[in-house]
Symmetry: C2
């Protein structure tokens, strides 16, 4: 428990984070007043993170803060929203001291600058248990234009941004598993797991192009199944088309059985979306303009569920293919 009290912590570490949110009033009031742009909808998402479940006591506080923020910015981006502000509540455990808070706030400040968001409010309290963080992130999108899971149509292409699998392989690397790659590649994968790159530039540009979208947080196959379920359709993807980083390709060449982990593991934070073939040209332009690879990996069709085809054209069994929180809670 910090020697500072709640008010001192807020004044010293969190008030500066709210400087660019005028309606936050320097966190000096009980609520923030936010103005949503005319003709815009507010997009809102919330997450809870528990020490020992979602992060480890030994994780650097700045990285915990940045991952917390980025995971939520990724949700907003995948809805087509431009992120604006966030609120957070902190229940700080006995091991949290002032230096922990300083590092945590410093990580937030760094990512606020990078992503153009600001702190709008929150609450800080003490807990005798594990430190528990909750964040509510907000963004804006043109009215009625938010990208949803349920908009896929039969015949749509299934697309992903960037590469898939670095999150899952990065978790393995972070755990010290041998992946058969050199130390630099392993470090790069672990870094990719520890610090997601939310596609905040790409997401808003998919508005009017994509029919359905979500971010890949619980695993490509499981997340695509969410889009299929919400849209009342099925999907078929080709494993060989799923874009992989050079490191992931090296891992897979040595250990082909890791393909399943790549396709069903989480923490990629890429955008998974569907779009009609008529937008293939627009997507090519968008990829060039943003510098972000966009890869078509399959097709939406009548039916249900996700079929993954291997190189021989057979169907691979992906099991549940998605992380569920009430299994066995372990740090991930």
């Amino acid at each position: 428990m910090p020697s500072l009290d709640e008010f001192e912590i807020i004044a010293r570490y969190f008030k500066p984070l709210a400087a660019k949110c005028e309606g936050a009033l320097g966190l000096s009031d009980d609520a923030a007043a936010l103005r949503v742009g005319a003709g815009r909808d507010l997009i809102v998402t919330a997450d809870a993170l528990v020490e020992g479940v979602h992060f480890l006591p030994s994780d650097p506080p700045g990285l915990i803060a940045r991952k917390m923020l980025r995971v939520n910015l990724s949700d907003l981006a995948a809805k087509g929203a431009t992120p604006t502000v966030y609120l957070m509540t902190l229940a700080l455990g006995p091991a949290v001291d002032e230096s922990w808070i300083a590092s945590f706030a410093s990580g937030l400040a760094q990512d606020q600058d990078e992503f153009g968001v600001a702190l709008a409010g929150g609450d800080t309290t003490a807990t005798p248990g594990p430190t528990t963080l909750s964040v509510t992130a907000m963004g804006e999108v043109a009215q009625g234009q938010a990208l949803r899971r349920n908009g896929a149509r039969a015949g749509d292409g299934v697309w992903v941004s960037g590469n898939i699998g670095d999150g899952a392989l990065g978790l393995a690397a972070a755990r010290g598993e041998s992946l058969g790659v050199d130390a630099d590649a392993a470090a790069s994968l672990a870094d990719r797991y520890r610090l997601p790159r939310p596609r905040v530039t790409l997401g808003p540009r998919l508005v009017g192009v994509a029919h359905a979208a979500m971010d890949v947080s619980d695993g490509l196959v499981g997340d695509l199944r969410h889009i299929c379920d919400a849209s009342g359709l099925g999907a078929e993807i080709e494993a060989a088309r799923v874009p992989l980083s050079a490191a992931a390709r090296t891992v897979l060449a040595r250990a082909p059985e890791r393909l399943r982990e790549i396709l069903t593991g989480g923490d990629d934070y890429e955008i998974l979306f569907t779009a009609p073939a008529s937008r293939d040209g627009a997507l090519a332009v968008l990829s060039t303009e943003t510098g972000i690879a966009l890869t078509r990996i399959g097709t939406i069709a009548a039916g249900s569920g996700v079929t993954v085809c291997d190189a021989a054209g057979g169907s691979m069994d992906m099991g549940q293919g998605g992380y569920r929180h009430f299994g066995a809670p372990t740090a991930r």
Copy 2:
């Protein structure tokens, strides 16, 4: 830990709570899309509640839920906002079973009906530690009209709604302390502590009337000090004018030393506001129309801090007069 997984809990217990929030999409997406009324500002507040700190493991889950919601609705009301939706994240501890969740959701449903709000989104996860809840509540107010702490002006009257002190005395009653009142009165005080009555009807009607406002959550004197600090002014209140319930008056007659507890204890959830004398007539009409007592207890003046005058005209020492969260965490 419940035998249900995260998705089943959401589908069975939380999806019904989101039925009246169209943009929540039945909690089937990663984010909610909310439309703020034209010419309206969004008012947002967040709170964290920890088992063993803010509520007890033995507290009825429905009451925990309702108090969590009401405390935040009270914040919104004191800003002049009409509450609309809320998001919540739940980190559920090992002792939480399905019946706990069912009761918790049932309490929320009851209060959603009473206050006209709906669930817009959130997150459910497991924790090995104490159950930790976080809520982000939202409301709307005419653009630029939110009531703030910092708007008090010299010469303003200091006003409170309803009665002060039932929260603090109710906590004593809930702890089993003898207050020298009959069982019915003690039960009524304890109930007042357990279940705040947020002034959601009154708050929005103070817009354009009050100069500054906040809800009394941490104690009348401490909260008035917040208004003074934010406004760069001081205040003088008369203890004898502070409105008390019949039960509180009975307690005070037998134990005059409890006056300090009444004036500095928390959990009243009344609205504390300042208004110029020119609005006395409007406030009288407002009190009649809402059926809520509005009492002028003092005056804002140049200077700083809060002076409490006793019946003899002397000044009472109130000490810190406000709850700080990093003292010794105990259930309150």
